[in-house]
């Protein structure tokens, strides 16, 4: 007898936004936000007491889980992100809630599940009446807690909690509570339907250095736990049910990449010399505590960019000066002798998340970064006080995000100087702090030589620079094809800014995503950059490439690139030149491709 095998589902591909690079083959672990169903059952009078006890035990169990989650969240995401779980704990401890549920069990002789569901739903419906959008949305916290209690009553923990190991997590969106509950450190990749560059998924995946893609739109409707899946975050593609041929070519590519990406641990100084003797400094970009360990592990030369806004769980929630001081002191200590550059809160714009502040028509061009800080002086003053105090414990510098011109710099400097005098007058110890400007908007590029005269250093934020120079929203999929890092206008802006810094005799650190991609890093060096700051996990591969090239060659290529008229021309040139000059360092797959079509 011949058993008919069920037909293997057909291979399907999705394009998305890569937020953390890598290529893996794995099995899907589908994570649902999930609703639990509860059914009514009538219990005997004699069982009421034991039913109430069962409910109380479930509450205790849920509390225990939440304490663990809270601790894990604090460790992984920072303390500000863990406070929300304190609210969840308080809901479980809420006597009114438990009394109502217990009385429902007693009076209706209902099973605990049903009582929890009925009272929970009643609570949610009252909450849904709240007029304020923001507060009403907090109903999701109540839902979360009710769900947890029902789960505890069922006596089963979601099975996925134990199967994260080596799985590719596929989810609509990853909520902070899921992140804190799963041991994502052991996952193989993260993929979500929703999200952009600044989504939780993106931040966490980069922190954990695992491949991640967001914006897959409807992948979740098709992927089932256990399905085979390929996540190619180099190409920005997810392949579900890969065919044998696809699998084979993927295996080959992974094997090929091993040679180029698995680089031995660096010397640990964070300085690498090109073959012709130009010294390149490699520093770390960090935002989350989860990333802190990478600074030492990958041998960075201090922290080139500390994105301080991730200290804040939410826009509008400021950490006290004391809490900030503690964090900055920790960052300084972590960075060691080479110090850390703290970027002032880059709030507003696309970083405001669920905006409660009146939404702006055009947030990327709105009240954000230094503009936000200058408009909300209390925020600025609190932060710079904390930084200057922490600078007495280790080397710290300040970079002003998104300055438009010298005027922004002057205003910020005046406020910083005022706070310093106040601190000194009250005998509070503070350390020396240099002040730099983040050059990422066209007006700052065009007046770079003027700004260079009034600051101690430059940082070049390449992600925003590309967005602003090319007028392309980097969070908008529809214009992704116009987001061309190697556009001659971008390269020219970078070259000018680097030259302005050189002429003024101040350092310039390039700290956007560009620095962490070997091809781009070579071009940056060709444009005159000698100081790059990147995701710590990228340091080994950039080190390897830097040690294998001549800066003079990079310069020759960069000069040619500047003569090009379009990004297509630059990419073609880069592909040809890199393949000819450094065939051992680059393969066709690691070089920009021109299959982009508008």
């Amino acid at each position: 007898m011949i058993m008919e095998a069920s037909p293997k589902p057909e291979e399907r591909r999705w394009q998305g936004l890569s937020v953390s690079e890598g290529l893996v083959i794995g099995r899907v672990l589908r994570i649902h936000k999930g609703t639990r169903h509860a059914y009514p059952a009538r219990i005997e009078v004699g069982d009421v007491e034991s039913e109430i006890n069962r409910f109380r035990e479930a509450i205790e169990q849920a509390k225990e889980q939440l304490l663990g989650i809270k601790e894990h969240a604090a460790k992984l995401l920072g303390e500000a992100h863990s406070y929300i779980f304190d609210a969840h704990l308080l809901m479980l401890e809420d006597r009114q809630l438990s009394e109502e549920i217990e009385s429902y069990i007693t009076k209706r002789r209902a099973n605990a599940e049903w009582a929890v569901k009925v009272i929970g739903d009643r609570l949610l419906s009252v909450y849904a009446e709240i007029k304020d959008d923001y507060l009403r949305e907090r109903g999701s916290d109540i839902e979360d807690v009710i769900h947890r209690v029902l789960e505890a009553l069922s006596g089963e923990r979601p099975s996925y909690l134990d199967s994260v190991q080596d799985a590719v997590i596929v989810s609509e969106d990853l909520l902070p509570s899921a992140v804190a509950e799963l041991n994502l450190e052991h996952a193989r990749a993260l993929v979500t339907d929703a999200g952009g560059w600044t989504s939780h998924t993106a931040i966490i995946a980069r922190g954990l250095a695992i491949p991640a893609m967001v914006g897959l739109e409807d992948l979740c409707q098709h992927a089932r736990t256990g399905d085979q899946i390929i996540v190619d975050a180099y190409k920005g593609e997810v392949i579900l049910h890969p065919s044998a041929a696809t699998l084979e070519s993927c295996h080959t590519e992974i094997a090929g990449r091993k040679g180029t990406t698995a680089v031995a641990a660096p010397s640990g100084t964070g300085i690498v010399q090109t073959r012709d003797g130009v010294q390149i400094r490699l520093r770390a970009n960090v935002e989350l505590p989860a990333e802190f360990k990478g600074v030492r592990k990958y041998g960075a030369m201090g922290i080139g960019l500390y994105r301080s806004e991730f200290l804040l769980a939410q826009p509008g929630v400021l950490l006290s000066e004391e809490k900030q001081y503690e964090t900055y002191a920790e960052v300084a200590q972590l960075a060691g002798a080479d110090g850390a550059v703290v970027r002032l809160f880059d709030l507003g714009g696309d970083k405001s998340g669920e905006s409660v502040i009146d939404s702006e028509r055009n947030p990327a061009l709105g009240l954000r970064a230094i503009r936000f800080c200058l408009r909300n002086e209390i925020v600025l003053r609190t932060q710079v006080r904390a930084i200057m105090r922490a600078a007495s414990k280790g080397r710290l510098d300040i970079v002003l995000p998104m300055v438009a011109d010298v005027a922004d710099v002057n205003r910020a400097q005046a406020i910083i100087a005022e706070e310093r005098s106040k601190l000194e007058a009250s005998g509070i110890e503070c350390g020396p702090v240099r002040i730099g400007a983040m050059i990422e908007v066209p007006s700052a590029v065009m007046t770079a030589e003027k700004i260079a005269r009034v600051v101690d250093f430059f940082e070049l934020g390449t992600n925003d620079l590309v967005q602003y120079v090319l007028a392309v929203d980097r969070g908008n999929d529809k214009v992704a094809d116009w987001f061309r890092t190697l556009h001659p206008a971008v390269l020219d802006s970078l070259g000018r800014t680097l030259k302005a810094a050189r002429d003024a005799g101040i350092p310039a650190i390039v700290c956007g995503e560009m620095a962490s991609t070997p091809v781009y890093a070579v071009i940056l060096v060709g444009l005159g950059a000698t100081d790059l700051s990147m995701t710590p996990s990228s340091i080994p591969r950039v080190t390897k490439v830097m040690a294998g090239i001549d800066a003079a060659d990079a310069q020759a290529i960069a000069t040619e690139c500047l003569r090009c008229a379009s990004a297509d021309e630059v990419e073609k040139l880069v592909r040809e030149e890199f393949m000819t000059r450094w065939p051992n360092l680059f393969t066709a797959k690691t070089l920009p491709s021109t299959n982009l079509s508008r």
Binding site: I84, I130, Y134, G316
Partner: protein
């Protein structure tokens, strides 16, 4: 029994995190603590987070805080203080 007027100064209002801080503090005192909307439509036990959330108190809302018990003065002062500093949240 004593009472005081308090105003929600932080922009986000009494959302979960702010409410959590308020409730944690309220529970440190023996006295009963209530928060009421000035129009008397909603009244909440300040020791119950779900009650406090139900107030739906947005930024700018004014409330009446009422304390009763042997440590009522300290309790009311602590509560008012938290409203005063906006639950440690900035107000852009």
């Amino acid at each position: 029994m004593i009472e005081a007027r308090v105003a929600v100064k932080n922009q986000l209002g009494l959302h979960a995190r702010a409410a959590a801080r308020l409730v944690r503090t309220a529970n440190r005192y023996q006295s009963s603590l209530r928060l009421e909307r000035l129009d008397g439509t909603v009244s909440a036990d300040a020791k119950s987070i779900l009650n406090v959330l139900m107030l739906g108190a947005t930024g700018g809302t004014e409330l009446r805080a009422i304390a009763e018990g042997h440590d009522e003065a300290e309790a009311l002062a602590a509560l008012s203080g938290m409203f005063e500093d906006g639950f440690g949240e900035l107000q852009p």
